[in-house]
């Protein structure tokens, strides 16, 4: 196990430098003035311009710029956002909110995938199974931002079951609607994994043995079939956790949730290039870290992985 952990960590090093280099390269080695490009139609005033030249060390050669940028990333010195707060401070405030939202979303996703997958697997081929699959596929085809607007308009505004926007008061009870909406557009993959492994384990020897011992399906289904089928669903849920950490921009923007996604959303809407670059870099690093943890979880749950 230790060997596996070490190898996985070593593999992450080139990936870390590769992704950050790629991002940095895309922004700062384009022809023309990178700072003007980052501001699009707007022109920053001279003071902002000069402070950015200094922050990104644009008077140095490109590779030196990148290395200095890496040093800043490691020492947590990523400059300030447009409101004058340091990126660190903004991150520290926003990250717990995103973490809460994503945790809630993956819990919903897991429950939906496990329960509906179990039902579908037990009734494979029947009408309710087909119906389940089609509904999941339709929900999966709704783009996140559309799903958020629909949830906001029909459930929050129409039925009044949840706050229309979350605002500063980001708690479990105000964020359930966006979290559930995320889960509804995602659970199809986990549900299929659950369905597949339920079908497989229903035909497995240990299930036949359990029935042969005289156990009823009331006991066999939860204990023997469902529990063993959950492993792929757990790993899939963990993987979507990583994807969501980096992918709540639209959700947080529409529901006004003060997380990292909202910071990025505001920066995009406001055309604040440097903030976009800082937070995309942070989110990418988070994504890489979460994916390492997910891989380690795989190895814990499925010992075969460690020897591949």
């Amino acid at each position: 196990m230790l060997r596996y952990i070490l190898r996985r960590l070593l593999q992450a090093i080139p990936v870390f430098f590769g992704t950050t280099f790629l991002l940095y390269f895309m922004v700062f080695s384009m022809p023309g003035d990178p700072i003007l490009a980052l501001f699009g139609d707007r022109t920053p005033n001279e003071a902002v311009y000069n402070s950015l030249v200094e922050q990104y060390n644009l008077d140095e050669p490109f590779i030196v710029q990148y290395l200095l940028y890496m040093r800043d990333l490691f020492t947590g010195n990523l400059g300030v956002t447009f409101s004058g707060r340091s990126v660190n401070e903004v991150f520290a405030d926003a990250f717990p909110v995103t973490l809460m939202l994503v945790t809630m979303a993956v819990i919903f996703e897991f429950v939906l995938a496990a329960v509906l997958g179990l039902i579908s697997g037990l009734r494979a081929g029947k009408l309710s199974d087909q119906f389940n699959l089609v509904v999941a596929l339709v929900l999966n085809s709704i783009p996140a931002f559309v799903a958020m607007f629909f949830a906001q308009y029909f459930i929050a505004l129409g039925l009044g079951w949840a706050p229309v926007t979350v605002g500063a008061n980001a708690t479990w009870s105000t964020m359930w609607l966006p979290a559930l909406t995320i889960a509804l557009t995602l659970y199809v993959v986990g549900m299929r994994l659950m369905r597949g492994s339920v079908i497989e384990s229903r035909g497995a020897d240990y299930v036949r043995t359990a029935y042969a011992k005289g156990l009823t399906s009331r006991r066999v289904t939860p204990v023997h079939v469902a529990r063993n089928s959950l492993i792929p669903v757990i790993t899939n849920t963990a993987a979507s956790f990583g994807a969501l950490i980096a992918g709540t921009t639209v959700t947080e923007g529409i529901f006004n949730i003060p997380g990292i996604g909202k910071v990025l959303y505001d920066a995009i809407i406001g055309g604040q290039g440097p903030t976009i670059v800082s937070f995309v870099t942070i989110l990418t690093v988070m994504y890489i870290i979460v994916n390492i943890l997910v891989d380690l979880l795989y190895a814990v749950l499925d010992p075969r992985i460690r020897y591949v």
Partner: protein, 315 residues
């Protein structure tokens, strides 16, 4: 029982064994694609998806068949009808700017479809060779290409596209946005192709090809690739839907296509300002987006099943 030589088993010419052993030349030939086609023809969902896709393609190529209004015309907006209800000739009502919603949806189809197709082409051009060469040649080539793939795989492609579109804010068009999406989405495809090539290259016919003197590259292109491309085709169909979503999301955020280009994402973005009082201008383009993505998703799913003989046998 007077027979001296009793048969406990029917003699071979009386059994149906001969039937089984005989090769019927008259029977229809079967290939992977023919099998897949026969499989697809039996699925009602396939026809639903196909009709939608044909409809969208027709809308993209001949938008004037579907509406008399040209939303690109300067006099197409009538502010007095801002967010107005449906009326004869305007089946879905009007946008906030008083433009005909149906016409804008019809003309937006070609944008979505173009972005989808160009993105998928870029994904395939980058992903298939990367995966195929890595899997087939192995060794340091594989290590190098797979590490490059890992880097792109670890960069969430939507975030990368956000950065590209921010930097290239002066050049926002269908081609740039497709490159921004496809340029970062190919790594998954490369992994799929590589895994399939790794399996196929073990087959005897691949060894036969190289031992008959065909070059490694020739073997890869003529024997390995055709036999390992089917999962890629299914994946690309799904990716087409995902690319349409990515374009709409970027346009919704205001860093996709400029408003001068008809795009469902732009329509939704415009309508979102007044969604709480007038939801219909947002709901209609959203439905267009959902139906289109759903059609490509269903098509991709059915293709994946139909092109995988093992999955077919399991069903």
């Amino acid at each position: 029982m007077s027979d001296k030589n009793p048969h406990y088993v029917a003699p071979i010419e009386e059994s149906d064994q001969t039937e089984i052993d005989q090769v019927k030349l008259s029977e229809r030939k079967s290939t992977l694609w023919l099998d897949a086609w026969r499989d697809l023809r039996r699925r009602p969902l396939f026809y639903v998806a196909l009709v939608i896709v044909i409809f969208i393609v027709a809308m993209s190529v001949f938008p004037s068949w579907f509406t008399d209004i040209d939303p690109y015309a300067t006099d197409s907006a009538d502010l007095s009808k801002s967010n107005g209800p449906a009326e004869p000739g305007h089946p879905l009502g009007f946008t906030r700017q008083g433009q005909d919603i149906w016409a804008r949806i019809v003309y937006g189809a070609s944008t979505s479809l173009s972005v989808g197709l160009i993105t998928v082409a870029i994904t395939a051009i980058l992903g298939v060779p990367m995966g195929a060469i890595a899997g087939f040649f192995g060794g340091w080539v594989d290590s190098l290409l797979s590490r490059i793939g890992d880097i792109f795989f670890s960069l969430p492609y939507f975030l990368a596209a956000v950065v590209v579109m921010t930097v290239l804010s002066d050049y926002r068009n269908v081609w740039v946005i497709s490159v921004a999406i496809g340029g970062f989405a190919w790594a998954t495809l490369a992994r799929i192709v590589r895994a399939e090539v790794l399996q196929v290259k073990q087959q005897e016919y691949v060894q036969a090809s190289t031992s008959l003197g065909r070059s490694r590259m020739g073997t890869l292109i003529n024997h390995v690739l055709p036999n390992s491309i089917t999962p890629a085709i299914a994946y690309l169909t799904l990716a087409l839907g995902a690319a349409i979503v990515a374009e709409a999301t970027l346009s919704f955020l205001g860093i996709g296509l400029p408003n001068s280009i008809m795009s469902w994402g732009n329509e939704i973005s415009q309508a979102s300002i007044t969604v709480r009082t007038d939801p219909l201008p947002l709901i209609y383009p959203s439905l267009a987006l959902i139906i289109t993505v759903l059609a490509f998703t269903i098509l991709g799913e059915l293709l994946r099943d139909a092109l995988d003989p093992k999955a077919r046998a399991r069903r």
